[in-house]
């Protein structure tokens, strides 16, 4: 069943830890009373859930960058689109509990004097429709963008800059209030999901479990691709694209498939992220954010999927820690980390352990 994990010690460890966490965290949060030394606070649960969503995003980026060699500086866009799809569902669940008490329209639409929910919001009150959109919208965007770019063989730096332009354009668009996505404020003040209150501990634990499961499944799926012949071809494309073409593979098709799949994963990560942090706004489209998440992968170690997970956890954890403990140092630390890792750890932290293994 788990043939794809053969020889992947990092992956085995990751799945093991995830399954332990899925059992342990809920117990420690819900069963162990507050004040007990082993109690895991809801704050921590949500924080971990957020990290898991980020980790899934990092895995998605690693698949296209580490394995296929496409440095996407626009994966934040797919993440945000998935997040918006989820946010729209959550927004429509608020119903008449908004400040204006309008049962049909979210607050910001009342504020903009809109009379009815615009067409592109139709259907988002249905959870399953929204979930389909979570995958479909980022997937479709990636498909269209990729189809254009890969067919005309835009590669390397050019492609990176184009993905950056893509997310930048989307950011500007979503900032506009006329777009109908809440402008700068984005979507927030969510109340419940599938009828369960987002503020209750059990919902938060459930979201945590969902994130862990999504990360595990996403990881396995990526791993399955990586170990298949397709995975080998993907790496071959990264190394020598022409050669792959001359032995008869449709490079553009393969790139498109992987890129789209990765975008869908990013969208799912976004959908898991939004209910846990409670807000989605155009800041997620910011090009700097996309660069930052590439850096998670670089620090963790590219072309090792578990490395991406590791990187996402470490960078975000140090962000959480440092922005609380030593705010002034945070940017220095992050900046120095980028420089040092690129200079001295081209294979990231995962590369470190590999080196050790090789030495042993």
């Amino acid at each position: 069943m788990f043939y794809m994990l053969k020889g992947d010690r990092g992956g085995q460890a990751l799945l093991l830890l995830l399954s332990i966490a899925v059992v342990l965290v809920p117990v420690l949060n819900l069963v162990v009373p507050e004040g007990h030394a082993l109690h895991v606070s809801t704050f921590t649960v949500t924080l971990l859930g957020k990290y898991l969503a980020f980790a899934l995003l990092a895995v998605a980026v690693d698949l296209v960058w580490g394995y296929m060699g496409i440095l996407s500086l626009g994966h934040g866009a797919f993440f945000a689109l998935g997040g918006y799809a989820m946010g729209m569902y959550l927004m429509l669940q608020i119903g008449d509990r908004g400040v204006y008490g309008n049962p049909d329209l979210p607050d910001f639409m009342v504020f903009l004097n809109w009379q009815e929910v615009p067409w592109f919001w139709q259907g988002f009150d249905n959870f399953w429709f929204a979930m389909i959109m979570v995958a479909l919208v980022p997937g479709l965007l990636a498909f269209v963008f990729g189809a254009l770019a890969f067919r005309s063989r835009v590669t390397g730096v050019y492609l990176s800059i184009m993905t950056q332009a893509l997310t930048y354009a989307l950011m500007l668009a979503f900032f506009r209030n006329e777009m109908g996505f809440g402008g700068n404020n984005g979507l927030t003040d969510f109340k419940d999901i599938l009828g369960f209150s987002l503020q209750s501990d059990s919902t938060r634990v459930a979201l945590f479990i969902a994130s862990a499961a999504a990360l595990a499944l996403g990881y396995l799926a990526c791993r399955a691709i990586v170990v298949s012949r397709l995975g080998k071809v993907v790496v071959a494309i990264r190394d020598t694209e022409d050669r792959v073409r001359f032995i008869g593979y449709r490079v553009d098709h393969i790139k498109l498939a992987i890129f789209t799949f990765s975008a869908v994963l990013a969208g799912i990560a976004g959908a898991l992220y939004v209910p846990q942090v409670g807000i989605i706004n155009p800041g997620e489209f910011s090009p700097l954010r996309s660069i930052e998440l590439v850096v998670w992968v670089a620090i963790g170690g590219r072309a090792t999927l578990y490395g991406a997970v590791l990187g996402a956890f470490i960078v975000n954890y140090s962000k959480t820690y440092l922005t609380g403990a030593a705010p002034e140092v945070w940017l220095f630390a992050l900046g120095a980390l980028f420089v040092l890792v690129t200079l001295y750890l081209p294979n990231g932290l995962a590369g470190l352990s590999k080196k050790k293994e090789a030495a042993a």
Binding site: F145, L148, T155, S160, A165, L288, V295, F332
Partner: protein, 539 residues
């Protein structure tokens, strides 16, 4: 000759004073030094309304001491002593003011700030003061001064004002000033009761682009008099056509100016990214360093703001260039041939530079002053005026481009740069010290970024985040123009700027920018190597 003016079109206040006076003081306005003294004393009142009246009285006193008082007031240099309530003009000294009495014009020595109370002016008063000064300068010997004085009079001209202008017109010798007064008088004639006068004025003004004319004609068009209505309709149509044309010219100028900003910001990147292949995410921060250098230079020489900008250009080049060389030596040289890796490392550097600046200069924006010669505008006609700072920046941009182009094409450094960028191993084999060339090239690109920072400090914020506003645009310009091609960057920057500005009126600023981005994305699909792809053997 084109003239520089600060525009103001309001009623000269001495005329206003003439009309208001009966209601204000006595039936016969006091004239001469008594009136002057009274008015000066009244300036000390608390309410702005009353001070307005006092200023009016001051002007109508027609005393020759009036003008310096008005000017001092306008420049916030008019005070009264707290103790004796003597109105004085203060000149700032090291630790206070050296004051001179207004009435006797005798120096009263020095006074500290706490001994004086400023006679405050507000917006409205300032307007009145300026108009008053303008009116008093109508008899100035210099024609430029007279011209600007006349230009200040656009607006509501009372009959008395017309009288005086007409009288002045007789003696006026300068053709420019005469023309201006003529227009003014014609505008007045538009509201005349005599239809012939009106018709004559409409005919005379049918080429004038002044907004006042337009407003008046707009009213006349609805006149019941068929002939007047038709004539002003025709004139208006002609004017509108002219305006539409000049609006286009103006938009083109705006586009050029935006383009020049884009080119300036991108051109350093065209070197570091285009020629060397380094995806320099710290490029924006190098621009920022240039802007901060300008700030520091201005702090060092506060007396010479005009000069400081010129000094800042080489200084910024050196500072940013040095930082660039440092970055190259410490980080980038380990990463050649791995362009995407340079992206990550330089992104880290950009964060560090930002935070460094934030630590040294605080997160607040810094104020960089605009020197006199860069403010104001060049008036070509009432419908078209080009701002000096934009004009200078366009010229500056072209100059920087030309110099850079010559450096790359004509100097031995440029030759080495091109050699190294095309074939590193071969260049090395031919005795070019590649690592030295790399460092210098990167330094050159960074230095140019610094120079761009000097220019940008004149139109936007100088703060720790300023670099981020330009980095994406810069990359777009370079990629659009074609990596490795300086001409491409120039043409690319200007065409994007112009396209943006022509779209803005109907699409709005944001949508225009989005459309430009989408256009670039699609364009790159068609021409993956940009507008002017670098030539060379493919493979």
């Amino acid at each position: 000759m084109l003239s520089f003016v600060t525009k103001n079109r309001f009623l000269p206040v001495w005329l206003l004073g003439l009309c208001l006076l009966p209601a204000l003081a006595s039936a016969t306005p006091p004239v001469g030094s008594d009136a002057f003294a009274q008015a000066v004393e009244r300036l000390q009142v608390k309410s702005y309304k009353e001070r307005e009246a006092a200023v009016a009285a001051l002007i109508s006193s027609q005393d020759e001491r009036v003008k310096p008082v008005l000017e001092a007031m306008l420049n916030a240099r008019l005070f009264y002593t707290k103790k004796d309530k003597i109105t004085v003009i203060g000149i700032k000294t090291k630790d206070g003011f050296s004051i001179t009495g207004v009435l006797d014009q005798k120096s009263l020595g020095n006074a500290s700030k706490s001994q004086l109370k400023k006679i405050k002016v507000n917006n409205k008063l300032r307007r009145i003061l300026r108009a008053g000064i303008a009116a008093l300068t109508l008899s100035d010997p210099a024609p430029e001064v007279r011209l600007s004085a006349v230009k200040q009079m656009y607006g509501k001209l009372g009959n008395a004002g017309i009288q005086i202008l007409t009288t002045h017109f007789e003696t006026e010798t300068d053709s420019k000033v005469r023309e201006e007064i003529q227009t003014l008088l014609h505008i007045h004639d538009l509201s005349s009761d005599d239809r012939n006068t009106v018709l004559k004025a409409v005919a005379a003004l049918s080429k004038s682009l002044h907004p006042e004319v337009r407003n008046k004609l707009e009213l006349l068009k609805d006149s019941t008099d068929q002939e007047i209505s038709a004539a002003s309709g025709d004139a208006l149509k002609h004017i509108q056509e002219q305006l539409a044309f000049y609006a286009k010219v103006k938009t083109a100028f705006f586009g050029l100016s935006l383009g020049s900003v884009l080119v300036l910001a991108a051109i350093g990147l065209a070197i570091t990214f285009g020629v060397m292949g380094v995806i320099n995410m710290a490029h924006g921060e190098l621009i920022m360093l240039g802007a901060y250098t300008t700030y520091v230079i201005q702090q060092l020489m506060p007396q010479y703001i005009g000069m400081s900008l010129l000094v800042a250009i080489p200084a910024a080049f050196l500072v940013s260039g040095a930082v660039g060389i440092l970055i190259e030596r410490l980080v980038i040289r380990h990463l050649y041939g791995r362009p995407l890796e340079t992206l990550l490392a330089t992104f880290g550097i950009s964060l560090i530079l930002q935070q460094t600046v934030r630590t040294i200069f605080s997160p607040l924006n810094r104020s960089v002053e605009t020197p006199q010669w860069m403010s104001g505008f060049l008036e070509i006609n009432p419908a078209l005026s080009l701002t000096y700072n934009r004009l200078y920046i366009i010229l500056f941009c072209l100059l920087v481009f030309a110099v850079l182009f010559l450096v790359i094409k004509k100097t031995s450094l440029g030759l080495s740069v091109r050699a190294v960028s095309q074939n590193r191993a071969m260049a090395r084999a031919m005795g070019i010290r590649a690592s030295r060339v790399d460092a210098l090239t990167f330094g050159l690109g960074s230095g140019i970024a610094g120079i761009a920072g000097v220019a940008l400090s004149q139109i936007t914020n100088v703060g720790p985040n300023m670099g981020q506003d330009y980095i994406i645009d810069s990359f777009m310009v370079v990629v659009f123009g074609g990596v490795g091609n300086l001409w491409g960057t120039l043409i690319g920057g200007f065409s994007l700027g112009i396209a943006n500005k022509f779209m803005e009126p109907w699409a709005g600023a944001v949508l225009a920018k989005i459309l430009v981005l989408v256009f670039i994305i699609l364009f790159i699909q068609k021409r993956p190597r940009g507008l002017f792809p670098q030539k060379g053997r493919v493979n």
